[in-house]
Symmetry: C2
Subunit: 242 residues, 2 copies
């Protein structure tokens, strides 16, 4: 790896090049969730850099929740179903416990993307998108009424799947090798519509939190647009600011 800087200008630091190189192994599917990756020494040999440089790259990827390091065992690719990962993007929890919700898909269609949808996904007007409507429940009670959009071209075969699991991101990872690395959320308060009331078993006009999310993959490309409407009577949206 240590040859001349690729462009003469820009020239990222070596450890950043190593990080990007290794991230590419994740994107390409060469490294899959749960897998033990080569040791620092081995990677240093492969890439012809020092162990310290590999370490710095691996540490950065560990901080991004892409890898998990275990002293004495080795470095592993993070798994979406790992409890540490599971609630990275699901922020609703009750006082007592952290529980991942069950989902019931109501509709799944392939549609032509409208401007509202296409823009945050970085697509062009009219590009095909997959639209999914679902209700999510915790402890048997419905709490989220949501619709989400995915670029259809990236997820061939999704429309028409008989069973959509509760954790969509795990599905995207296992079936298309797409890892969600980051999500931007914007919240505001709103009132339950007639549809909300029906699906969430609450009165029309009941206060809800509306969440708009855009989720990004490892390369920073938008992967999903999601609009959720959440009953927060028995549950809180929790975040830690640092």
């Amino acid at each position: 790896m240590p040859d001349e800087p690729a462009t003469l200008v820009a020239a990222k630091p070596l450890y950043a090049q190593v990080r990007d190189q290794l991230t590419r192994r994740l994107v390409s599917g060469e490294w899959t969730p749960g897998m033990l990756i080569p040791s620092e020494q081995e990677l240093a040999r492969q890439l012809n850099v020092s162990q310290g440089t590999v370490r710095k790259a691996l540490d950065a990827m560990t901080m991004d929740n892409l890898l998990v390091r275990r002293q004495g065992r080795g470095t592993f690719v993070a798994q979406p179903e790992d409890p540490r990962q599971l609630f990275q993007f699901f922020r609703l929890s009750s006082e007592k416990q952290q529980e991942f919700p069950e989902s019931q898909v109501l509709k799944m269609t392939r549609v032509s993307g409208t401007k509202d949808v296409v823009k945050p996904l970085g697509l062009s007007a009219g590009d095909p998108v997959i639209r999914i409507e679902r209700v999510r429940s915790m402890g048997g009670a419905p709490i989220i009424n949501e619709v989400l959009w995915l670029p259809a071209d990236r997820f061939a075969g999704l429309v028409g799947m008989e069973h959509i699991p509760n954790n969509i991101y795990k599905l995207l990872s296992s079936k298309w090798g797409v890892t969600i690395a980051r999500a931007d959320e914007q919240l505001h308060a709103t009132l339950a519509s007639a549809q909300d009331a029906l699906r969430l078993s609450c009165p029309q006009g009941h206060p809800l939190i509306a969440i708009q999310r855009v989720a990004y993959d490892l390369e920073g490309r938008p992967v999903e647009l999601r609009q959720s409407r959440c009953l927060t009577d028995n549950v809180r949206y929790s975040v830690t600011l640092r």
Copy 2:
């Protein structure tokens, strides 16, 4: 610094000891916001460790937003009024711009802490707390109706101050040397009460986001309990999940 492990057991890594040592300089007020701190070499000499170990400690503190490093210049203590810091704990923004709100204090009293208040603050029932009610505005329009509690013993002289600035955390830093390092927030949807309606110039029953925050200092001790009720008609609560 590198003598025997302090307790024979536990024995934190050296860089963590250095980090804690340097953090103590912040807590004690030896280092104040904006100040240039000694160079890595100098700190390494002072603490009798290698420069690499100091660097690791400084990097960790930089990641925690306690320090700011500038190549060629040196390492500085972070300032609460720095734009990078300002919006760390203020998550409401409009589409166009990030703007820090103006505040108008309505009431400030010293009271005996009730159980609800005392528990999150780690105090005992009846301990004295400072209770502040205020309304915060963006672009001239009121958007937040909030009440906050601080342990009275830590902030002697606060009650009775004629002017409370918009940024309370900056005040805590400059006057009492207390740095807010982390805040946990829990959100839910609610409806505007008669008081909310009055203070926020909105109809009673209007949807609001209610936020409960507990803020912690550098040593992880709770410093503030805050309950905000926010009009989100023209503004969004924004977070990035990683």
